[in-house]
Symmetry: D2
Subunit: 310 residues, 4 copies
């Protein structure tokens, strides 16, 4: 994630006109040598292995937290108290209590703050938002139907990484990828009122990274499946899983409204499929919109039509 | 449905070697003239408007019930008692009690009986069954994830047809299309142990067919959304809806197992997509199997490869 | 082909209101026993091994020729002279001279006649025709770009069947499948003015069917690739091949006009993709029209929306 | 193009370990103020409006030419003579004579040189190359079938930009986009031996950019369509057009070999479809390979599986 965030900070001013100049001051990591190499490779002025030096550095305005989930709260709260703008990777925290403390901290400190639900800014999703707000799906949304599917731990020999341990990750598929779906649901549709959900840990013990002969318990969810209702009456159905062979990063959703439908899949991130019930009878069908036209959100700053964005 | 069943009876012996000769004896309908025309058009020897004449006809061995749901039980039970083989369209009954009575009747009468969950015989679905049984998805199935989506009552002006009235239909999307999903779930995976479900009636009142100015209550579900668990531990997620603009007959499912995944969509009924985790690394991907090869189920009796079946 | 034609004759009156009643009188084949079985299986009243008995039968009005290509001319000319309506499978003849004689014969005899370019009646293609005629692609067509690809002789061990021998087939991919493309080009666009073409026989010798140890020369084309110009200025590009692994029956075309484009592929025969340059900017994209709506050509006589036709 | 090249120079060392350090010295443009702004925006140390100052700058080792085509030869030859490495955008020149002079110049000067056929480095295309070289398509390639289609001048009101004028561009679709196809054909298959080709200018006069009321002649091709043969016997068919509504940047090809086929489309640049005739019978189908795995070419330096590259 550090690599991706570094790229974003480095590239943003090359494509967009920003109100401030970006200085990439300090990158923080656990291993001194590796962090130093990363600084040079990724474009940071300096590196450190102690995140507190970042918090106390008066020359730093923004703290961007990409650590494992168990450090989010401590760093975010300290950064907020130090008056820094706080950007934090998702899931915000390991549980609701931690998240509430973080929210409380940034509110008190009145600092700029953001959770990195970056997919809101995928041009096709931003276009979906515009279309829904413009009423292109109709006055009512009937269904928000989504699945975030990956397959990276489908193999039972995959080791017990931090993402599979509750004390580091808080939850499994729910927080890691399900949080993106929940964010998009709220962004695109409405607040969620009620849910009924099940989770499952398909592979209950996994080898340690340090010793493959020892297996320890997986105490997070491998998959979660959810139904519910939004405040506005829309039905919710979503599933998040890391056990769907062939799905690498399938953040997908379908939204059905009174006048039309939308389909999106992150594995084809430059496309949005749109069915309009107002098209002439006999000529209706899902339109495969290649979201690379200059009129599409953000795209004018990138490449010509058809040159996809990654 | 009568048209489709007639076609099946007429065509089966032309493509398959059947153990008996089919005689299309009597078609039954409500309107005398229309039923008589249908008999001639569809290939039946005679027609009637009284289903009891079929039940009592000693020359008839099989009764194929394609009526609205409220007549299923009465006809099926009478047919069973008369010693006829009973074929009944889905959903079997309006509720569980009725269904139990029907099952009891055919058991007592020891007659051949079948519910018309015809999609089991779609070549691509039969192939999916073979592959699962052969272990091509692995020892365990993790997910059965399905949606049956249509859009024919998305328009609020659509009238209150019998399928939208509980006393005739029993249920809405659940019985009409959801029953196919449930059948395929049981066919392809296992029995279902537990479910949690929600239903919704999005358009609560609709114009009468006979008088558009009068609106009456819709007392069946427009959509149902379900999560649950199969006996073998597989997670279940399925949704059935008639409010998904652009989806005409999208009976779709994805099955994720320990060694691979399958995807099917009835709107592309001659295709089965298969991801095998045993393919070489770097060459993996969902295979788009066009299920029209002579080795595929039933296909050898039809057309050459690539000539799709409807 | 006999099986497919029999099906068509048998089924047509069940779905369409025809101006005459169809009697399936006599089926003709080479093997007496097999032809007799076929008659019973496919619904013919009688069978024969001598096609001349069909020609001379006064009770027969229509002769439908599904033989290998080398018999087309002789039978068609005799049938025409006998005053029968003549239906002939494609390619009409082995070469232009033969075809001209056949045309001359039916003209002189003033009999109804037809070449079985059946794909004109695929609902999606008939819809394409309607759309082009209605100007939905604009006043001008720029490109007709097509490929008919199959893979059934990709294997070098595939034997020297009649379709690979010039004296029986006349030509290879050109006549067998390319003729469909040429027909659709003329149907959908205009007459073709000029062409430049190449053909290739990739596998030049193949084992005899009767003795696999003997290989004999393939004297027809395995593939043909063509560019040219239509009378109306449209550019033509098409290729026909039997050496495209993975393509089972891919009769595909793209048509680009001044206001839009169409894409079709017979392996997805119920779909037509349509891009309209008159859709609003930012909402444009190929529409995936599922050609199963009652308003689409022929479809009202078949199944409900989404139930595909084969 | 300057923006894209600047991005490449800026980003390459962040993702790959390069043997030299990149200094982005001078950007050259026609308008002083705009070029100066571009320098700052895109990350160049300085800017100039005279390309000769770049050529004579002893601190510059590499000259990267992104000008309109009419300046390629003059700059490239001067740069070569000055001992610079020469990178030149495609098409290399306006015609063969110019290109030959450029090749002669870099050969004499013995300088590093390259034409920017960048698509060779798209991971999916590099994977295609690996697969072909490893024999995964078989010993023989039968077909290279390609189309590069865009639609940006489909509108007749589109003005007479430099790309539509022979003295600046040399050719139209042929050089601008067809050159990419030719490059990939040579890269993936073999040298081309013979061709037969047609070109067309659909819209023969267009408004001037400076005065819309005046229309001047378009003297380059709007489309070119080509058949031919490679040295190794493969059949060639390709078309390049800017008149295909709905196609934004569709550089697509299909390659059919003795053991399998490949399909690629730049509008889905992270995918390669692969049909292997060695897959088990009944399980064959085009595999939709998402080319984002660490084992795929270049990808290990980018993002995790499923996070597509633009």
């Amino acid at each position: 994630m550090g690599k991706a965030h570094s790229n974003a900070w480095r590239q943003a001013p090359r494509f967009f006109d920003l109100p401030a100049e970006i200085r990439m001051a300090t990158i923080c990591g656990r291993d001194r040598a590796a962090t130093s190499r990363a600084a040079s490779k990724l474009g940071w002025e300096s590196s450190t292995t102690d995140w507190r030096t970042v918090i106390t550095d008066p020359g730093i305005d923004i703290v961007d937290i990409c650590t494992p989930n168990d450090l989010h709260a401590e760093i975010a709260i300290a950064a907020a108290r130090a008056g820094k703008a706080v950007l934090c990777e998702k899931p915000l925290a390991r549980d609701g209590r931690e998240a509430a403390q973080m929210v409380e901290a940034v509110r008190r400190a009145r600092v700029v703050n953001m959770v990195c639900h970056n997919y809101r800014r995928v041009p096709a999703i931003a276009l979906a938002k515009q279309m829904i707000e413009a009423g292109e799906l109709g006055d009512r949304i009937y269904h928000f139907y989504a699945r975030y599917a990956q397959d990276w731990i489908g193999n039972e020999k995959f080791p017990l990484v931090w993402r599979l341990q509750s004390r580091f990750a808080g939850s499994g598929a729910l927080g890691d990828i399900g949080s993106h779906v929940i964010d998009l649901a709220r962004y695109l549709v409405d607040e969620i009122d009620d849910v009924s959900a099940m989770s499952e840990t398909f592979v209950k013990r996994r080898p340690l990274k340090t010793n493959k002969d020892i297996r320890a318990r997986v105490d997070v969810d491998d998959a979660v499946t959810v139904i519910g209702r939004f405040r506005n009456g829309t039905l919710l159905n979503f599933e998040a899983t890391r056990f769907a062979h062939g799905r690498k990063n399938q953040l997908s959703f379908e939204i059905n409204g009174g006048r039309g439908s939308l389909i999106f899949d992150l594995e084809e991130m430059n496309r949005l499929r749109f069915f309009s019930a107002t098209d002439p009878i006999g000529r209706q069908g899902f339109r495969d919109i290649l979201v690379t036209e200059p009129t599409h959100p953000y795209v004018a700053r990138w490449w010509p039509p058809g040159h996809v964005v990654g």
